[in-house]
């Protein structure tokens, strides 16, 4: 772990985190730091706990944190309600975004943007739509989309694009993209990657969760982590992902199992 204490006020720091779901420990002493301006890829085989990590950070009620800490710009993230975490700048692009029947995309996003304004302030509708259309163009989304219900009847690709649209509108400080590439054909993948790359900048830290190295050809990470059995077991540069593609996860899992598993 690289000195979290020095950058604590300006990064998302996960320290020795342990979390369970229905009594089973899934996150087993995980440490990681995401700085604004950087893209960290978290790779790992199925069942390594990648999606669980995203949900734990989001505050999903099914997951219980048993020890460790998470600090977002110095603030105890785990003490906050899920919606407070979101309003303070944490965003999760979900692997399986939920459908909300009867609620239009425009209305939903407007409520979410409104929720971030100081009390008593009302969103200007003209500005809002101007921004919304600009971001929709970026992600090649049809205008008719605003009137459709959130994710209802959307194709896999449309759902993922919608997640990135929401991210673009909500301007988070830290974004966790959970398997954003899954279920996307190559054209959709390019559009989504283009959207994310456009949003990259000094004010945004990204945790890019993926199983495949393919996505990293389009969204090039600054750091690559490998997660196995609920922990980060390797950290390296871009080349680590290429190694993984060549050798598969087996060589790392094998190495990992030879080390004593912390209880």
């Amino acid at each position: 772990m690289r000195g979290p204490k020095f950058q604590i006020m300006n990064s998302l720091v996960i320290n020795d985190l342990r979390a369970t779901v229905a009594g089973n420990e899934i996150i087993r002493g995980l440490s990681l730091e995401i700085e604004p301006g950087k893209v960290h890829a978290v790779m790992g085989p199925n069942g390594s706990g990648k999606s669980t990590l995203a949900k734990v950070l989001g505050g999903h009620p099914d997951y219980e944190v048993t020890s460790g800490e998470v600090l977002m710009d110095g603030e105890d993230l785990l003490a906050l309600e899920p919606d407070e975490r979101a309003r303070k700048g944490l965003f999760i692009a979900f692997q399986y975004p939920m459908e909300i029947p009867g609620v239009s995309n425009a209305n939903f996003l407007r409520s979410a943007v409104q929720a971030r304004l100081p009390e008593g302030e009302t969103l200007d509708a003209t500005d809002y739509y101007a921004r919304l259309y600009e971001k929709m163009d970026l992600l090649d989304i049809d205008r008719k989309f605003t009137a459709r219900s959130v994710n209802e009847g959307f194709s896999g690709g449309e759902k993922k694009r919608n997640e990135i649209l929401q991210m673009a509108m909500l301007e988070p400080r830290y974004a966790i993209l959970d398997e954003t590439d899954s279920g996307l054909d190559i054209d959709a993948l390019k559009i989504v990657a283009h959207g994310v790359n456009t949003l990259r900048g000094p004010g945004l830290g990204v945790m890019l969760i993926t199983h495949y190295q393919r996505l990293l050809n389009y969204i090039v990470p600054d750091v690559v982590h490998v997660m196995v059995h609920g922990r980060i077991v390797r950290t390296g540069g871009r080349e680590l992902a290429l190694d993984l593609e060549e050798k598969g996860y087996e060589w790392i899992i094998k190495d990992e199992l030879e080390e004593p598993v912390a209880v």
Binding site: G59, P82, F91, I100, V103, S149
Partner: protein, 468 residues
């Protein structure tokens, strides 16, 4: 799944009370003396007194309908209720003449403001009598009558008597008999042939007194080719004891007439709301009931349309929101009695916490009719794992030339949906409110603008309150 189901219903709008001071009080309990007292103070013609006394006998002879309805009805103690409370029998035409307390009540409820903004006429009832009743001059000049039921039966007996008690006979059910015995207040509306009333007429029913029953009686007659929209709202302060509200509403749409009747019911959680509403639609007439039930302890209400003339059309669009401790037992009745009649029922209910929503529907198409159509959709949304919904559709279609369609669905707001919305920055209450508004959205879009805004606001309050 949201686990906190404690409902702290925000009834800021309706939950306030001014001290009682009633000049006219029929006292507790219901006997022939009660009826005579009401008929005396209202100075009614003898035929109404006789009508009331016969109705009392019918009421007393009928058992509570607990063989099919909720046993909660047994919690009503008819001898602990006051059946008539008023400070006078004549409504004023000016808010300035309304007693200060009562005027402030309606100002807090926003009635005079709405009247200025978008209404053609207003009647405001406080306990047993209307305190204010007025119609815009231009509407009155078209020959539209909009007055209280007592004034109606006295001033326009030739119209009133012809239809009063004909759509809903006294003996229709125990509570229609009760209303027939002790009715007071409510509206009498007559729209002359061909007159289209552009803006809605509104009645507001306010209960202020404890241990009280409000029994308004409304009769609306839309003459040939006329059009009218009537809207009603209702609130009461929250008391520990049961309050009873039992209205009878009769609508008559003559040939080619259109009536829209909109209700947004937001009674406090101690009110038993047992209401009978029915319309007769003559040839090519249209009757639409828009019925929103948000409040009350128990509501039993099944607005109906008797499709009496060829090509008549009936519609019931209803939304029920049952929060903790509430039971919304609502539905619709469509009685097809002529060829080529069509009916449409869309019912949406939401159950929160221990709230229970029940849909009861009756659609009847007899054998000899041709080319009748009915469409019924009922959708239920459950917010918590122990919320309850029941659907009892009874559709009888005989003969061969008729078409019926019935669809029902039950869905649940999932914990994953709520988490998803929270992750976008909405509080749990906002997320639930958005889900519920989404669920009713396609129906609410068909409501008059002012009422869809009001309904959305009530749902927001209710859902915000539901997570504490």
């Amino acid at each position: 799944m949201p686990t906190d189901t404690s409902i702290d219903i925000d009834r800021d709008v309706g939950d306030f009370v001014y001290p009682e001071s009633h000049e006219f009080d029929a006292g507790y309990g219901l006997t022939r003396d009660t009826i005579n007292y009401i008929a005396d103070v209202k100075d009614e013609p003898e035929w109404i007194r006789d009508f009331r006394l016969k109705a009392l006998d019918t009421f007393l002879s009928r058992p509570l309908p607990t063989h099919w309805a909720s046993r909660d009805l047994e919690a009503i103690h008819f001898d602990k209720i006051r059946y008539y409370l008023a400070n006078g029998q004549r409504p004023t035409r000016s808010w300035d003449e309304v007693p200060e307390d009562v005027k402030r009540t309606f100002e807090r409820l926003g009635i005079p403001e709405q009247e200025r903004k978008f209404l053609a006429g207003v009647e405001a009832q406080f306990d047993s009598e209307a305190v204010y009743s007025n119609i815009k001059k231009a509407v009155g000049e078209q020959g539209v009558i909009f007055i209280g039921s007592t004034e109606g039966l006295k001033q326009h007996p030739e119209i009133f008597r012809k239809w009063f008690g004909k759509v809903i006979p006294t003996g229709d059910n125990k509570f229609s008999a009760l209303n027939s015995a002790v009715f007071s207040g409510g509206s009498f509306i007559y729209v002359p042939p061909g007159v289209k009333v552009k803006h809605p007429l509104q009645a507001y029913f306010r209960i202020n007194a404890e241990n009280f029953g409000q029994f308004e009686r409304t009769l609306i007659i839309a003459d040939e080719g006329s059009e009218v929209m009537y809207m009603e709202g209702c609130t009461a302060p929250k008391f520990e004891t049961a309050t009873l509200h039992s209205a009878v509403v009769e609508l008559v749409a003559l040939k080619g007439a259109k009536i829209q009747y909109v209700t947004v019911q937001n009674w406090s959680a101690n009110v038993f709301n047992l209401v009978t509403k029915r319309a007769i639609a003559h040839e090519e007439a249209e009757v639409k009931w828009i019925d929103c039930n948000i409040g009350s302890r128990l509501t039993m209400k099944y607005p109906g349309v008797v499709l009496k003339g060829r090509k008549a059309r009936g519609e019931v669009l209803s939304i029920a929101l049952a929060s903790n401790g509430q039971h919304q037992d609502t539905g619709a009745k469509m009685i097809h009695a002529a060829d080529e009649t069509t009916s449409n029922i869309v019912s949406k209910s939401i159950s929160v916490g221990t709230g229970r929503a029940t849909y009861r529907g009756l659609v009847h198409v007899p054998r000899h009719l041709k080319h009748c159509k009915n469409n019924t959709e009922c959708d239920a949304l459950l917010i918590n794992a122990h919320s309850r919904t029941d659907t009892y559709p009874a559709i009888t279609v005989r003969g061969t030339g008729n078409a019926v369609q019935h669809e029902a669905s039950v869905s649940q707001v999932s914990a994953e949906q709520i988490f998803y919305m929270q992750q976008r920055g909405l509080t749990q209450g906002q997320a639930m409110s958005l889900s519920v508004n989404g669920f009713v959205n396609d129906l609410v879009r068909q409501f008059p603008m002012e009422y869809s805004v009001e309904l959305k606001r009530l749902i927001d309050l209710e859902m915000e309150g539901s997570v504490g």
